[in-house]
Every structure is written in C-alpha cells, then in structure tokens.
C-alpha cells in the first residue's frame, strides 16, 4: 500500500476487512464487491449493504510463480476464484493450505491477513485471504 492510493484503499476497508458487499432485496442476489445496480432487476432492484458469509468453496485456482511487485517474496502462492455460501464470487489468495488440498470444490474460510507490506515506513494493507478447511 503506497501513500498515493491511500484514500482509495481506505474506502475499501469494510470490503477488505468484513467482506462487505450488497444484496438485492428484490431478487435476493448478493454481490461482492458491492454493485451500484442489480443486473437482474435494474431499476426495480433495491441494494442493501451486507457482510458476505466467510465460508465458501474453490471454483478454480492457479499457482503463481512470478508475483507482481509486493508479492515477489511470497511466490509460489495460490490464488483462487471462490464462491461464497451465498453464491457471490471473489478472487483471493489461498494461504496456510497444503498444496494437495487446494482443489476445485475444496471448502475454504476467510482469514484476516496482511495483503501488502512493502514499505517498512509506509502503511500496512490488511484484508481477506482464504484457507482450506478440513
């Protein structure tokens, strides 16, 4: 987290810390990250903020061997598309999980981790990652 984009990241704290997304009261669909309008109901949709469930399953995953700036010391690491138990999907790093357990369909739960900490004198970015359970 560099100083330049601090306001941008700060606005996302509830999303990153609590998995705050939103759900449409009209059709019941939940979105993460939060959407401005419900794609199903358009103008008839009514979106309310909601914390997403902290459990889900892996839809697909990949192992990253060459990480972007800020992640180069964490390679190799896994990222996965995760479907939360309410159907919302997100992309997340998968940590603390043995390689053989990171599989399509594997159950995961949210953990609170450092996302980036690249400048020893700069701010630390915290947020969600997921870990395989069971």
């Amino acid at each position: 987290m560099t100083n330049g984009n601090l306001p941008l990241i700060w606005r996302k704290f509830s999303e990153r810390y609590l998995l705050q997304g939103n759900c449409c009261e009209t059709c019941g669909t939940c979105f993460f990250p939060a959407r401005q309008i419900c794609p199903n109901c358009r103008r008839k949709g009514k979106l309310v903020p909601k914390e997403m469930p902290r459990e889900g399953k892996i839809i697909t995953y990949t192992e990253v061997f060459t990480g972007p700036y800020g992640f180069e010391y964490e390679t190799p690491y896994f990222i996965a598309i995760i479907e939360l138990s309410n159907g919302a999907r997100l992309l997340s790093q998968v940590v603390d999980s043995p390689k053989e357990k990171i599989r399509i369909g594997a159950k995961v739960k949210k953990v609170f981790r450092k996302i980036s900490d690249i400048d020893p004198e700069g701010p630390i970015a915290y947020g969600y990652k997921f870990k395989v359970v069971g």
Partner: protein, 350 residues
Amino acid sequence: MIGIVGYGAYIPKYRIKVEEIARTWRKDGKAIANSLNVEEKAVAAFDEDSCTIAVEAARRAVEMSGIEAQKIGGVYVGSESHPYAVKPTASVVAEAINAGPELTAADLEFACKAGTAGIQMCMGLVIGDMPDWIEYGLAIGADTAQGKPADALEYTAGSGGAAFIIGKKESEIIASIDQTFSYTTDTPDFWRRQHAEFPRHAGRFTGEPAYFKHVISAAEGLMAKAGLKPKDFDYAAFHQPNGKFPLRVAQMLGFGEKKVRRGLLTPMIGNTYSGATMVALASVLDAAKPGEKILAVSYGSGAGSDAFALTARKPIEKKRPAVPVLEMIKEKEYISYAEYAKFRRKLKSL
C-alpha cells in the same frame, strides 16, 4: 458480577523446532530443549503480524460469546510487537470485527502482561458507575515475539494471542472474575528501546528477582485478599516464558503440577509473550466445568504481575469454542530456520 462472556485464541500454524534453531548455531538442540522444556514454537506466517493474530482471536471471541460486536464499547490490544510504533492496532481490530465506530480503543504495552492489564481496564469500564457507558469490553494479548538471532530467547519467542470479552450480565458470564490483584516494581530485567529491533535481557536476572518474585507476590496477594488457598483452585494458568518456570512457580506456591498442565502450552508453541497467560487461560476454560476455580497470573518484564481468581459458570457448558486450544495447535507445519528467517523478516532485504 463481572466476568468473561466469550474468548478466542489464535495460534499460527507454522512451527520451528528448538533443535532446528540450535542446528543453525551449532548448539546442542536436545540439551537446550530439555533445559527449557520447550520442543518447538509457533511462528507467524510472512503475512501475519500481531494485528492479524489479534483480529483472528477477537473474531473467535465474538462468535463464541454470541453477542453483537456492535455492543463492544472498548477495545484494548496488549502487545510488544504492535506493527506500528504510532497508529493503533486496536482501531484495526475494532473495524475488522465490525465493533466500531462508537467505542474507545487503545494499544497497551507492558512486556508480556499488557493483555491482562487490558482485562483489568475492561473490568473497570464495564463495572464503573458512569451510567450506560460500556456494556462489553474486549481485551486482547497478541504477539509475534522478536527473538534476536542466536540469543537465548530465540528458542522460545513464539507467536499467538487470545481475546476476552468482559461483561456483567449474569446469564452470559461463563467465568466470573471474583478478585484481581496486581504487583508492580521497577525491575530492569528485559526491555527494547525505541527503534531497536530486538529486545535485550538481563540473563539470569530474569528469574528470581523478576518472574518468580512478581508472580508469587501477585498470587499470594490475590489469595490473601480473596481468602483463598491453593487447594481451593482446580486450575492455575501462569505466564510461561519457558516450560520450566510455570511448573516451578506452581510448586513454590503449593499448586500441584496437575493443576498447571492444561494451561501449559509453551512447550508446544513457545512463549507467546502478551498472549501467553491469555492463551493458557483460554485452554483452561476449554476444560473447566461450572463451579471450578481458576487462578491466572501474568508476568510482564519491567516488571509486574496481574493475578485473577475466576470461577467457571453454567453458561460455559453451552458456549464452548468451536475448536479448543489443544486441538487448534495440532494443525501445524514445520519450517526450516531459513523459512523462519524469511517469515519473521530477519533477512536484511525484507
């Protein structure tokens, strides 16, 4: 009545064996492990710090308590490895469990006893007679203890933490806090100066005039105040800088080893500093049955001890945590000294 309405512990899954550390420095690992009564210690992952540990413990405490996080009116995080020198860990924790923004919060430091100082502060807030101020307080002790490479403390400095929610509603209290007593002196046994990366200590001086004197004085002071004797307690949880001190202090105070066993975790996870007494108490509460009495005594260098007399209550039977501490620490993965040096950023370029 005042007491604990929920608690949660978190121990990172990575472990390094004392023998692996000793191998790096060409020392006799078996002899060191024996002399400390420590086999291995928990190591926070590359992307963990005291703040992430505090959040995980706090979330578990909230889940176990069954209370709404929004009702927490005070958050105190005790640690000697707060990620920032200036900027509170407590505000991150409050936001990450959705407790804020209407609450008071602060970071605490008193070497290894800042977490129990937080419990006392929460007790004061919750029971104080300012009307309708705070219903619940959250006190956390969490550390990713810094051990200087090749120093004696490197074998024991572990990572972990625990969180306690303090409340006053009788129907919710799983363990009442019946009495507390503290003992504090200016004793320079262990310190870390501002901007210094690793703490320094006074070697053998950390034993008799430091740990033993304060733990015993606080425990005896508490028992005198509460009119209790060692035989009245079913469990005792002491601060545990290594696996030997808590056993010896128990013996000196007149507690059998059996009463200390359940809370003796340092042999398996190392000394979690601000987390140590808190995690020990959490493990004891995992097993405690209604009516059982618990003594908990922390120790923080510099130096002081907070002692507590607790009684487990009926609501504890319905509020057991999802995973007991002893079960949680079974999930582990061993790492080499090189990985440990990377995880804890002991390499210059990190």
